[in-house]
């Protein structure tokens, strides 16, 4: 009686040392511009890449979303990736390549991400890939160098936590709202040392895009990886993808053995009722600082733990908010729709459903998750809805989520953002970020303040 995580882990365990460390075989290794530190370590050792065919590189973190390069230093980052991948014969989808996009969007989209695999990348949101029933986790540069050199990684088996989401999400409530609720319930470090499995009817009912959003945010409650066991939704999503197995039915038969056995043991079980979840939004500087849109800004004076109260005070000062203020009264300066969390076709369709025939009161940028998503959104008329509403339609990339590619929020400006981190300065020095779903970001664009999207969706979905 094994969990899905354990089944996948055991398939990849080359050996286990007496001290409990396992040497795991890694199926897929995704690389991006930030991997240059690891390539430098390889150069120092004079080491070769063990399995270049198990590596896929893509330009995303520094990829400009406009057709011109904003500064030479960014061009240099894109060049370094080209040089390193050329030297080691690693396939690359560089800037403006038809397969380019955010690494956690293109992996599933190309069918590179499959159930039962181990997937790593020098990026903490590699947890995203767990949505297809894989073990995906982020690693640092030294671990990237280790995987490049050996196609393996030393890991200690994490503790296992199952999060069962009962019931169904209400209209206009998305996987993003669910994830923010889970993070708030567990805390930003609540799942550290654990691998998560998301289960229950509300998770089963999620589309693959929704599952990708949910697993993406696992790291924001401290879990290095989170997965949803594969099912018919997974198989239907993968069938016909460019890198899907040629003998697809044989692979499906194997993947069907991966779900958690009844009676499998978890170190921790959490439950959440989907029906209680409202559109959720962050007010502070950690993803755990989230509340339903109907709430008011918390008062640090009412928080008993002094360290927690100090955090809340500092967060409110940084965010320029007042205790007791209704969330819906908070005016915004701009919106951003994109990032590895919320830039897939379904995210864009939802934002477009809110924005169609309406005008944004604040400037904003929509950056699709990949060149394929961009093309599809243009074919479906979504891009036109965004530009008609007054929002900019950009090229794919990490864009305003990381603030390192030319897209930033100005100091002191407040951004309604579909990204994953509201850390101080994350979207640019002094930037104030409120995390929310694409529907909620679209609603904020229309009204110019944080807004409950539900009335704006009536008759539209």
């Amino acid at each position: 009686m094994l969990s899905s995580f354990e089944k996948i882990w055991l398939r990849h365990e080359i050996l286990r040392r007496p001290d409990g460390q396992s040497l795991l075989f890694i199926d897929r290794h995704f690389l991006h511009e930030g991997s240059f530190n690891a390539f430098a370590q390889l150069a120092e050792r004079g080491a070769a890449v063990a399995h270049p065919n198990r590596c896929t590189a893509v330009a995303d973190h520094y990829a400009p979303t406009r057709a011109t390069l904003p500064e030479p230093a960014i061009a240099d980052m894109l060049d370094r990736l080209t040089q390193n991948t050329t030297r080691h014969a690693i396939p690359l989808a560089g800037w403006q390549h038809p397969d380019q996009g955010i690494v956690h969007v293109i992996g599933p989209e190309r069918g590179l991400t499959l159930p039962g695999l181990t997937i790593v990348c020098g990026d903490s949101h590699t947890s995203t890939h767990g949505a297809l029933g894989a073990i995906g986790f982020g690693i640092g540069a030294s671990e990237v160098a280790h995987v490049l050199t050996t196609q393996t990684l030393w890991q200690k088996p994490p503790r296992l936590m199952r999060i069962t989401v009962a019931g169904r999400l209400g209209p206009g409530i998305t996987a993003k709202d669910l994830a923010l609720c889970i993070i708030t319930q567990l805390g930003a470090d609540g799942a550290r040392g654990h691998a998560l499995e998301y289960a229950g009817p509300a998770v089963r009912a999620l589309s693959m895009e929704g599952r990708l959003t949910l697993c993406n945010l696992s790291i924001e409650c401290g879990a290095r990886c989170g997965l949803v066991a594969p099912d018919e939704t997974t198989f239907a999503y993968l069938r016909g993808r460019p890198h899907a197995p040629p003998d697809f039915d044989r692979a499906c038969a194997d993947w069907a053995t991966l779900p958690t056995d009844p009676g499998a043991r978890f170190d921790r079980e959490e439950t959440i009722d989907a029906a209680t979840i409202a559109p959720t939004i962050t007010w502070g500087t950690s993803p755990e600082d989230a509340l339903p849109i109907t709430a008011t800004i918390p008062d640090p004076a009412h928080i008993p733990n002094p360290a927690r109260a100090a955090h809340a005070s500092e967060a409110l000062a940084y965010m320029g908010l007042t205790p007791g203020q209704p969330l819906t009264s908070v005016r915004i300066d701009r919106v951003f729709i994109g990032s590895c969390t919320n830039s897939r076709i379904e995210d864009l369709r939802l934002a477009a459903a809110v924005l169609a025939g309406r005008t944004a009161r604040v400037p904003g940028l929509v950056s699709p998750g990949s060149a394929r998503v961009k093309q599809q959104a243009e074919q479906e008329g979504l891009a036109r809805i965004f530009t008609d509403a007054g929002l900019a339609w950009g090229l794919p990339g990490c864009s305003m989520c990381v603030g390192m590619n030319g897209d930033q929020v100005a100091p002191g400006q407040r951004c309604a953002s579909t990204t994953n981190r509201n850390f101080r300065g994350r979207q640019g020095p002094g930037a104030r970020t409120h995390l929310m779903s694409p529907a909620m970001a679209a609603a904020a664009a229309i009204t110019g303040h944080l807004t409950d999207v539900r009335p704006l969706l009536t008759g539209r979905t």
Binding site: G140, K156, D189, S286, A310, V402, M404, R421, G425
Partner: protein
């Protein structure tokens, strides 16, 4: 990798929760090559806060940091560890750490020592009131200040790795025959993987 055994040094208190890796090494500095040094990058934007302890004369030369929960959460950027190491920090004491950060830290010889939240509050209060040195004893998993001591925890495998300073890639290469045998079986069994 430099070994870690016992360290006596100035300890700098940072009474903040959630010092994430975006704070430790802000994104705009990540284009640096390692050889350029990441010391000036460490907590770059928070340093502008008036009275920020990291740059206060009382804590000059600190090699130990004390901070509140969820230190090093967020991004996997190893630059967060480079910034600490290049600034001179060899040990961070906190009630909890981001998993990826902690793994990166150990890989570079930086000790992430987990102390209880009450002990961290005691250490913060003590160091804010009276700047001074602490001793970090890794074999004993103990923080010392004169006669006072506080325990800390670390995964035993990581403790050993820091004590021995061993290199993972060399270690893995010594198991190459087992890896090769595994790959042959694995690739025939799961040809799509």
């Amino acid at each position: 990798m430099e070994k870690f055994h016992r360290l006596t040094a100035i300890a700098c208190p940072l009474p903040l929760e959630g010092i994430d890796t975006d704070q430790l090494a802000p994104a705009r500095f990540l284009k640096r090559r390692r050889s350029e040094g990441y010391g000036p990058v460490l907590l770059h934007d928070l340093r502008a806060t008036p009275g920020f302890p990291l740059t206060a004369p009382a804590y000059a030369g600190a090699r130990i940091l004390i901070a509140r929960r969820n230190f090093g959460g967020g991004s996997s950027r190893e630059a967060a560890v480079y910034a600490l190491m290049d600034f001179g920090i060899r040990c961070v004491v906190a009630p909890s750490f981001g998993d990826i950060f902690a793994s990166n830290a150990v890989g570079n010889g930086l000790l992430p020592a987990i102390a209880t939240a009450p002990d961290v509050e005691t250490l913060l209060a003590k160091l804010l009131a009276t700047p001074g040195e602490l001793t970090i004893d890794l074999p004993a998993c103990r923080i010392e200040a004169g006669p006072q001591t506080w325990p800390f925890t670390i995964d035993p495998v990581w403790r050993e790795k820091l004590l021995q300073g061993f290199d993972d890639i060399d270690l893995t290469r010594s198991r190459q025959p087992e890896i090769d045998a595994f790959v042959r079986t694995y690739e025939s069994r799961y040809p799509w993987a």
